[in-house]
Symmetry: C2
Subunit: 223 residues, 2 copies
């Protein structure tokens, strides 16, 4: 199973657990946790209603399992690339652009080369990240350890910046990223069709430069 096929095997070979995860991922991404019922999920998965409780132990556990599945893969790939750019730059710290790239590129690569499951997953992640109900606990559980490594690397790359500036900068960075991943179609409407929410190449060309320049601007704030 290649990196980019993670969790998206041919229909015939998927286990019941995977069918449920795939269906839940798709529907939770569209309508949120409370807006999706187990009946809709099991219908989409072609599986009996009672099997959610057998395999996962309830709706909320299923929700967390959906977030965990690809979150672990994302963390692995991000850390691999962070280590790569740090090693390439040693003994100097990696440049801001390189650190930011190690954070964004795994997502963009999954979106460009993998199946629709990753699109749903990232859209769901955007929703969770902006949710007062889920954001703090669920994002933290999956991503805090990795994010702290990236924040350290950003601080190393911008030694003149105050730590507060880097924390706020990370907040802006992840906000810009997650809205882009939500694929709401709003960008399409505003631009009259000139830009498309799902155009990963266009996003890749602009997100890194915007964020790196923004972080540098923060680091030189006032001086």
């Amino acid at each position: 199973m290649s990196l980019y096929e993670g969790g998206e095997m041919a229909r015939a070979k998927r286990t019941t657990k995977e069918k449920l995860l795939d269906a839940a991922e798709k529907l939770f991404a569209r309508k949120g946790y409370h807006g999706t019922s187990l009946r809709q999920i099991t219908r989409e998965a072609g599986v009996d209603l009672a099997l959610v409780n057998y395999h996962f132990g309830g709706k909320e556990k299923l929700f967390e399992a959906v977030l965990d599945r690809r979150g672990a893969m994302l963390n692995e790939e991000r850390l691999r690339r962070l280590e790569e750019v740090c090693r390439a730059a040693a003994p100097r710290p990696a440049a801001t652009e390189a650190v930011v790239g190690a954070f964004f590129d795994p997502i963009l690569d999954f979106l460009e080369h993998a199946g629709p499951g990753w699109h749903s997953y990232f859209s769901l992640l955007a929703w969770v990240n902006n949710s007062p109900q889920w954001g703090k606990r669920l994002m933290g559980k999956t991503f805090n350890a990795t994010v702290k490594r990236f924040i350290e690397a950003l601080m190393d790359s911008l030694p003149k910046a105050a730590p507060e500036d880097i924390y706020w900068g990370y907040n802006f960075l992840t906000g810009a990223l997650t809205l882009s991943l939500a694929e709401t179609g709003r960008l399409d409407v505003l631009s009259g069709g000139l830009c498309r929410s799902v155009d990963v190449a266009a996003l890749r060309a602009r997100l890194g430069p915007f964020v790196a320049a923004g972080l540098r601007g923060l680091a030189q704030r006032g001086g």
Copy 2:
């Protein structure tokens, strides 16, 4: 009624309609549309369940009324400030920093000087903006006309930038803004308490510089 008290009068003087809007705003912001029931809303408002249908015609209409109420005030204030900075700079175009300030400052002023209703409203807005279900239609209905004016002003301020860069830049800008408004508390956890999600002064000092630098970086992309 001063600008900053909009919709938040003394408890005794509020009409039933306003009580319902205030309660719905607070609860929708915390748990989303599907996560909030009309029974919770009417209990919080101290009002009978049946009155939602009498005054608004259903749950979804109530939801849209919540978004409309303060959205109109926000648009007015944003356009007033945009005109101000454009007039001050004429005949040259207003600077990127000034346009971005006219877009952010009304929100930051409402958060700093007005009651908790505005916090709930902006938190709800963050959620709606990142929702595939609601984002395109509801954000567009309330904000498209105003946003188009700001995008034009941004294009004028950065004549070397391609229109696509400005549209994507606006997307990043609003993502950074809305995650900050969601007040999920995640920033507090990541920074070990050094930064606080609800610290409007800290946000004000950093959001404008980050975004303006990001937009300039986009405009000079590759060259």
